[in-house]
Structure formats: structure tokens, C-alpha cells
């Protein structure tokens, strides 16, 4: 599949800028996305090729501006929906509920 992920040889991305003494994860949510992906995927429900394909199926414009674990998150969500484990609606409702809980918590 030839898409935005097929980056070998592309020009214009600029310098690499390695980060000295980089931590393994940069935020708590990255850890959760990593673990969720590994825990669900490697149980045999899907394999690495399917995970990769799901990530690569992300809209190219979104793919290019997403950070690494954002790509994982979108890929995981796509697989969970495709496989019928979750629906978009269900995810949206749960997000709204968590946001409401957080807002209520923040006002106290």
C-alpha cells in the first residue's frame, strides 16, 4: 500500500533533532495507548499487520500531523470498531461522560 506512511526518500521533513536522555514515554496517556494496543492486539484478536494497516488507513492529512501514539490510538480505535467491539457512538458517549465528570470534579 502506497500512502502517506511510505516515507522512504521523501524530501522536506527537515532535521531529525534527536532528544537527549529521552524518556520512554512523554505523557501518561501515551503509556495507556501503548498498553491498550499491545494488550488487545497480541491476545490474537488481530496481528501486527492488521494494526499497521489500520494505522496506515488513517486519513493522510491526519496521519502526517499526528504524533506517534496518536496514530496508535486512531489505529486501535479503527480496529475495535471494525471488529465490532465498540461503536463510534459508544466511544463518543463515553468521552462526553468522562468530560462531564472531569468538569464536575474541577468545579468542586
Amino acid at each position: 500500500m502506497n500512502g502517506a506512511h511510505d516515507m522512504g526518500g521523501m524530501h522536506g521533513f527537515g532535521p531529525i533533532n534527536p532528544e537527549p536522555d529521552e524518556p520512554v514515554f512523554h505523557a501518561e496517556w501515551e503509556k495507556r495507548v501503548f498498553a491498550l494496543t499491545v494488550a488487545t492486539g497480541f491476545g490474537g484478536e488481530w496481528n501486527i499487520d492488521m494494526v499497521r494497516f489500520a494505522r496506515e488507513s488513517t486519513d493522510p492529512a491526519i496521519y502526517l500531523r499526528s504524533t506517534y501514539y496518536e496514530k496508535w490510538l486512531l489505529g486501535l480505535q479503527r480496529l475495535l470498531i471494525e471488529r465490532g467491539h465498540l461503536s463510534e457512538d459508544e466511544i463518543a458517549r463515553r468521552m462526553a461522560r468522562i468530560a462531564a465528570e472531569q468538569a464536575a470534579g474541577g468545579q468542586r
Binding site: H26, T67, L86
Partner: protein
């Protein structure tokens, strides 16, 4: 004046998350836990493993062994997966390992142009730059330029070989043993082996340079 600026992530080094990302992550974990598809304790365990227990120190032990034990080195180059398994480093994202040796004539460097394939059992999770667009794009078209950015300048007589990882095959570079390290023990040698030297964007430290 409040400016509702959700900035976008053109930069691979920008780790600030949009509220949507945080909420979506929480929602997925909450729903998957509720449905019994994941166990939060198993998630914590996975995070702990890759944050604290698996990392480039594993690979450094393999490299140091190869430097002191010619028989092991031969085995490592012939069947990386089996040789590395002796250390108990195997499994997830490292089931098929190929070890490539740097020599005075050949310098090897590893990339995954399509994504982020990386030998987890020996190096842990890849750094951000390895997964970044600039590295993935440039490693295969301008490897010497990339090496220069990492402070590595090779004579023109040294051939640079770039290995593009796949979902199946993961590469580990066996860096050259540094000069002046003849008297060091295997443990001391392992201290000279950096993560980048095993990706091929660095070389092993000179004795005395190790922190």
C-alpha cells in the same frame, strides 16, 4: 484575550495532547475494561516492563558477549534470534532477529521507513526520532547526512548499508569494538555500547568516555 488555539502536531517532538486525545484514550480504556477485553493491572504490568525492564542495556550485553566470544559472535551473525534467546531476550517484536556487523569497510544503519519496527527485546521501545518522519524519509536517501546529524562522520571508503525493517525481520547492529578496550571485562565493555550504536546512528563509546 483568550485565544482558543489547539495547536497541531506537525512536529514529532510536540507531546502536548489535544483534550480529544486524552478523552478518547480514557474512553477506550474504560469501555474495554468494562467489557472484560483488558485488565488494567495487565496494562500497568506492560507499561512497567517497557518503561523499566526492557531496554538497550539488553542489547549491550549481547554486543559485549560477541566482542569477547568469537564463537558466540559467529552464532549471533548466523542466527541472531537463537543466539539472543540465550539471554532470555525474545518474544514480542523480536521473533526474527538479524544481526549486521560493522567493520572498517561497512557501516550498517537501521530504519523502518513505513512505521516504527524495532527490536523490542534487545533495545526496548524506539525513541521518538526513530519513529519521526524526517528519519524515516532521509535514512534511505541521505544516510551520510543523517549520520552527520548524529555526529558520525565516516570516511568515503566506508560503505553505508541501510536496512529497512519489516513487521517480521528486526535488525540489530553489532558495532565495532572500540580501540583501547582490550583489557576491559565483558561488563565494562557493555557500558561502551550505546543504543544508537546498535541502531547504527552512533558508534560505541571510547573507553573512559562511558558515564
Amino acid at each position: 484575550m483568550a485565544h482558543d488555539h489547539h495547536h497541531h502536531h506537525d512536529d514529532d517532538h510536540d507531546h502536548s495532547a489535544l483534550p480529544d486525545t486524552l478523552l478518547r484514550t480514557k474512553a477506550l480504556e474504560s469501555l474495554l475494561t468494562e467489557k472484560g477485553l483488558v485488565d488494567p493491572r495487565a496494562l500497568d504490568e506492560l507499561i512497567d516492563t517497557y518503561e523499566h525492564r526492557v531496554g538497550p542495556r539488553n542489547g549491550a550485553r549481547v554486543v559485549a558477549r560477541a566482542w569477547v566470544d568469537p564463537q558466540f559472535k559467529a552464532k549471533l551473525l548466523a542466527d541472531g534470534t537463537e543466539a539472543i534467546k540465550q539471554f532470555g531476550f525474545d518474544g514480542r517484536q523480536g521473533k526474527d532477529m538479524v544481526v549486521v556487523e560493522n567493520t572498517p569497510r561497512v557501516h550498517n544503519m537501521v530504519v523502518c521507513t513505513l512505521c516504527s519496527c524495532y527490536p523490542w527485546p534487545v533495545l526496548g521501545l524506539p525513541p521518538v526520532w526513530y519513529k519521526s518522519s524526517p528519519y524515516r524519509a532521509r535514512a534511505v536517501i541521505d544516510p551520510r547526512g543523517v549520520l552527520a546529524e548524529f555526529g558520525v562522520t565516516l570516511p568515503g571508503t566506508v560503505e553505508v548499508k541501510v536496512w529497512d525493517s519489516t513487521a517480521e525481520v528486526r535488525y540489530l547492529v553489532l558495532p565495532m569494538r572500540p580501540a583501547g578496550s582490550e583489557k576491559l571485562s565483558e561488563e565494562q565493555l557493555a557500558e561502551l555500547v550505546t543504543r544508537d550504536s546498535m541502531i547504527g546512528t552512533g558508534v560505541a563509546l571510547a573507553p573512559g568516555a562511558a558515564a
